[in-house]
Symmetry: C3
Amino acid sequence: MGQVAWKALFLSLFDYKTEKYVIAKNKKVGVLYRVVQLSILAYLVGWVFVVKKGYQDTDTSLQSSVITKLKGVAFTNTSELGERLWDVADYVIPPQGESVFFVMTNLIVTPNQRQSTCPESASIPDALCDKDTDCLEGEAVVAGNGKGSVPVWVWCPSEASAWKPLLGSAENFTVYIKNSIRFPKFKFSKMNVLATDNESYLKTCRYSQEHPYCPIFVLGNIVRWAGADFQEMASEGGVIGIQIEWNCDLDKAPSECNPHYSFSRLDNKSAERSITSGYNFRFAKYYRDVEGVDYRTLIKAYGIRFDVMVNGKAGKFNIIPTIINISSGLALMGAGAFFCDLVLLYLIKKSNFYRGKKYEEVKSSSRKSLSSPTLNGNQSPDQL
Amino acid sequence: MGQVAWKALFLSLFDYKTEKYVIAKNKKVGVLYRVVQLSILAYLVGWVFVVKKGYQDTDTSLQSSVITKLKGVAFTNTSELGERLWDVADYVIPPQGESVFFVMTNLIVTPNQRQSTCPESASIPDALCDKDTDCLEGEAVVAGNGKGSVPVWVWCPSEASAWKPLLGSAENFTVYIKNSIRFPKFKFSKMNVLATDNESYLKTCRYSQEHPYCPIFVLGNIVRWAGADFQEMASEGGVIGIQIEWNCDLDKAPSECNPHYSFSRLDNKSAERSITSGYNFRFAKYYRDVEGVDYRTLIKAYGIRFDVMVNGKAGKFNIIPTIINISSGLALMGAGAFFCDLVLLYLIKKSNFYRGKKYEEVKSSSRKSLSSPTLNGNQSPDQL
Amino acid sequence: MGQVAWKALFLSLFDYKTEKYVIAKNKKVGVLYRVVQLSILAYLVGWVFVVKKGYQDTDTSLQSSVITKLKGVAFTNTSELGERLWDVADYVIPPQGESVFFVMTNLIVTPNQRQSTCPESASIPDALCDKDTDCLEGEAVVAGNGKGSVPVWVWCPSEASAWKPLLGSAENFTVYIKNSIRFPKFKFSKMNVLATDNESYLKTCRYSQEHPYCPIFVLGNIVRWAGADFQEMASEGGVIGIQIEWNCDLDKAPSECNPHYSFSRLDNKSAERSITSGYNFRFAKYYRDVEGVDYRTLIKAYGIRFDVMVNGKAGKFNIIPTIINISSGLALMGAGAFFCDLVLLYLIKKSNFYRGKKYEEVKSSSRKSLSSPTLNGNQSPDQL
């Protein structure tokens, strides 16, 4: 029968098989099932797709480049330095305008330090370490271990420890932040500086609620928005985080993908001097006198460090997450049906009757399905 | 009957229940269903697994460390500076070779600036602000606010504003980029410098199409590949992004996980001077004369800043995404069957007949399923 | 019949339809199906949910800000420099304490370089290039191309090439690492410095197995933990990566979200001098003599560069991944049932009997399902 059989087999491949259903004219369970279906549908459409954009593939790892440029001059008149003007070249460290920049607002100058033995050389660790937060106990030990004894040869005179705020007017300095980002997965690039033909706007605007896309910020405002006091930070030092957040729906127009700025203080803002609050560091300018002997001016710089931190999330329609979310919804429907089955088969009266109809015993046995409620009763939940 | 019942119950747990199917010998629907199945299968295997590697767990947050080192010397002969040789220590800022480095190709030198009152001191903001892009209107106001008046005490002489390109030969400088990455999720580390025993190759090679894994780049080429003109950038300044992309399939050999380099210009490349194009910054070298008075040389540096930006994606087989994708395919099959049911039950002639067979009414009622097409007709779509 | 029909239709919407099942009293298959179900359940609960936390939404893109501060002084006594004390301002580059910092432990000083023609000027490229790894063949060519000839005007004297380790005691320096992170998706922020009221602890502690949350590290230990030899690195230079990993389960208390530190060497640790090992760079201090002529001290700095790299992963309960994982489990159950069907219908004896019961032919034909094993036999697998 080979010939015939194969032909029949091939044809039979195109028979359509469909589950056989039992219609239980029971309104209670029917209504329950509709409610379950509707709530699943609502969850899927409302929450997964509309709110969470479950139809999108997302990229959270973005490439970012930040360019910063400060503006402003400050004038000071102190006994040590006399009248002095501070411009960008004087107070910005490092000068090249990276994503992390420091504005020096206060400093302790120890001029003309030379290598020699000072009277207070024994207390060198203390000399290196004023009352400020950066002073760690046991430094003498650390410093000494190298030679096994505290060195007697030091930079003299040792560092002064009195200090006072200087560049209070730094509050009015402005910083221009250029940020260009790229989402590699979607090959999408953008800058935070809007492509406007109105150059003068970019020169005169200042970031604020009214100008959310202006890339020029007033330092005083940044610090205020971060919930800190500028004058206090200017004297003690501190770190401010400038968060730029890109949350882009690439299914919409690129013009709707815009940065959102937020500001926060990163060093511990605890009022009392604590090891985790404040910010300062030491650096030196080196000179050489006529005899060719090196000497330096040690500067302990206090000021505000700004960290520009960029992060973002881009979403774009993608078939795979869409299908995964839809099919998870379908599977839920199946679970819902299973749940309603339990109700139909065990919780309502006449459940025995329905059980008998739903389950058809095929073992050639005298038992009739109706006669064994308990048995079927406990089997069915496992039918999942 | 407890005894018996429990035993029966326990045994019944191991009865196997299987859906009852109706075979509709209808070739049209049968073929349709096969087509649906095949297309779903094709999507799952072809797109999800082969193309999109749906069986992999991915890690897009990588740790990266970049070390850069420049090479090259340039020679200039200008009226201001006379003959001068520029080596790495002169033109690289900062010198320590981080992922963001700046090559000074042009500069305005204002030597011997001292704090005093210049004739043009009234116009100090302009003095600080030549025709270049970094000049923001209203700076005077900003600068002034601090003291309430424009300072009269400034660095003199004020900055020169004439300038011309200098280090044109920077085009031939080379940069050696060392990049070591790590995918924390998979504990996988690699460097962009191939572990070759051929040291001389690493010393002589230059990155190009022919040498895609050579870590040494000629600046001129980088700028050209970024679609910019080196000489124009050298004089105006600019920012170039060097993107290193790691796209690793960790199911293959580590040797197949290699970096891919691409280059782009990050500042606005608009030809006309705009606030968003060009790159420059000011810094000063401080000196002290015999009387111990400080003076400085103010340098406004133009040049090309290079941002090395690293990102990557690693994928490795993981059971969970595999199963999620497979089961989403299975759920789709269910949806396909539902769709074919609709066709079978409502769109073909004899659908009434099939509907009657598929749905078996169990309410002890005189109605026969065949007699109520409309009813079943509208029920079934909801049967999902 | 409109009236009646519509009413009936509406009512029929709330009829409940449920699949019809066939109970095959076959223990073998029944047991098999239970085993399949249990293993799927075990995988879902044990692996997906307990181990892999499949109920959580994760965020791997974190914002991080790093502040570093070094402590320690070293004393050297060399023929060139005589007795000398090195403090933070001398050996830390850059001074402002960013996430990448360099500790100078060895240096070649070439004092009083002036622009002129040296005897060895012809070999200027070699002068710029000692035996060290940073020397690339063919530099002369590169350097020359600019002018078309090798420049004769150079910094003299040319760089010395003898060198010896200096700051061995840097081994005892300490670095204080402040790291504040933020998971944008969950609006969760934290610092690696525990909010302790015990200030003295933070001043005296040192990171170690016993003090895993102390933010102060001894350089020597870091290098040792990275598997390198400090003295060798101090003389040759090298790069150490300090990885800070945050692995936070935000369903638990924030106090359980703590950093984990690990250390690794990032430059090639191959003992023999290779182009990829070691770390050094050149910079210069510029002076001006009485006649106002510039001269410089060229310093080739060797030392250890530390890259603080922060990454993390935060997870928090989210309904969507939970449901996706559950429903993938449900779909698996379906696949399991399909597999058991195959066994029941083709692999056991009496399979013909079951096949006949499961599949009900509805074409009004004389054939009886039992009479066509082959046909059904090959159809059913496709029933999925």
